[in-house]
């Protein structure tokens, strides 16, 4: 966006005020403290992610088990869930780990990019036992392979189900809905 113009530029149509995004609210002290704490735990292996909402850090896909181990050792003992977000435009999956802890419930997201073709990542089921089923579900829905997983099979769908439904390019041939113009 350009610099604000001088008031005499009346010929220029003024930008609609609704298009200007609201200024970001003052940073929450709890979030600032969390950012400092996580920076201490993960060091420079993780970079803070700028997306709004849950405070997030990006790590290399190969660095996920190490980051998970460090977080767990630092008291983040509660893996809320893990899942993937399909980004076909960027040809990647965002593996997202929602990690929190049982005492104060502070939450953070650990995000790692995987290439859409041949998406593979090491398992974290040895760090949080609960990751076992969540990784099976992510495999089921996205086809992401978790290396070292003890029992990587489909969990919600049938073993012979074609494709992985939560991928954006998944075509449901079974319940093919006719698109009508109205």
């Amino acid at each position: 966006m350009s610099e604000p113009t001088a008031p005499d530029a009346a010929a220029v149509p003024a930008a609609p005020p609704a298009a200007t995004p609201a200024p970001p609210p003052a940073p929450d002290p709890a979030v600032v403290a969390l950012r400092e704490e996580v920076a201490r735990i993960l060091g420079d292996t993780a970079t803070p992610d700028s997306a709004a909402g849950v405070p997030a850090w990006r790590v290399d896909a190969t660095g996920v088990p190490d980051a998970a181990r460090r977080l767990r050792a630092a008291g983040f003992d509660y893996l809320l869930f893990l899942t993937a977000v399909d980004r076909p435009a960027e040809a990647k999956f965002e593996m997202t780990y929602l990690i929190t802890r049982f005492d104060d419930g502070r939450q953070l997201a650990l995000v790692a990019d995987l290439p859409r073709e041949a998406a593979e990542i090491d398992t974290v089921s040895g760090i949080w036992a609960g990751a076992n089923w969540h990784e099976r579900e992510t495999f089921d829905m996205f086809g992401i392979v978790f290396r070292g997983h003890p029992y990587l099979r489909r969990i919600l769908l049938d073993g012979d189900w074609p494709g992985h439904p939560l991928r954006k390019d998944y075509v449901d041939t079974l319940h093919d809905v006719v698109k009508r113009p109205y």
Partner: protein, 381 residues
Amino acid sequence: MELKPIPNPTPTDTPTAPVYEDYFVNMGPQHPSTHGVLRLVLKLEGETVLGLTPVLGYVHRGIEKMGEAMTVLQFTHLTDRLDYLSAHMNNWGWSLAVEQALGIEVPARAEHIRVIMSELARISSHQLWWGCLGMDLGAFTPFLYGFRDRERVNDIFEKTCGARLTVNYIRPGGVTADVEEDFAKDVRAFIDYFTPVIDEYETLVGGNIIFQERTKGVGVLGADLARSLGCTGPTLRASGVCYDVRRNRPYGIYPKLDFLVPIATEGDSWARYKVRIAEMRESLLIIRQALDTMPDGPVRAKLPVIVKVPAGRWLGRVEAARGEIGFFLVGDGTDKPWRVKVRSPNFSNLAALPEIIKGCRVADVVAVLSTLDVVVPCIDR
């Protein structure tokens, strides 16, 4: 903190038995004690359970995929269909995620109504659980008592929400409509009626020696395993971990309310029973406080005509009747979510079952499953 090694969960497979004495029994998918369409493959040696594999997905409806095809307001009603006994809390969790994304302030009256409705839903859920627990262990009477009392809660829901089960009442920005005029009177009458009935419940089931024999020391879930698996709700609190989203990550008006979080330390089925009974009492106290302080005013904040989810990741976490339910919303600036993920408490709680059931008897499977209190549509989504 020293890291303790986590016992590696080795699922029992369903292949050929190594020796002919082992045999496999399918419990479900149509079985009265699984409370839904859940299949458990038991590996037995005589009467002893050597291992157990839950087979999920019989009621998988693809709710997360459906969420990507509809607006955030349209998705609210689908959250009822997850854990239908915690419908209000599910609505609330989704609303929290949307409200965070849009930066909406909820009116005070709506916050009070949300608390009252959610705690009523928690009570009604525990009433149903209590009745079914008795039924699973061979006592028919608790089932009738539980459903008799649950009817009163459902009547309150029906009067205000128009529905008894899939209520779709709490919505982003507040609640659908103000409560009907008899609401406070009805709720107070229910509290007065139900407070002594809990004692009756305890005498009828908890005081029964057969019930105690069948639950004490059965299906012991250790605190470390429960934390590592991400178990929540009464299942976790019965293992001695004091974690309640209402207390540890408060939302709504819970910080202003005075209530206790019941815990037990044994981790067995009996402890889970005691925690749920105590939770019903606390919920009654919460409802009374919320009713006493309920202000007048609007019940719904103004929402934009077209709700567009800004880019980012949003997470709504609430304490449902069975534990922490989380709604993860990934927005991309359009009116439809890019990704919706439901973190189901039942999914994580059920993951404990194969671990804690080893060495129990076949009849104990029913007791443990019943005190874990899983609702299958929430697991399968």
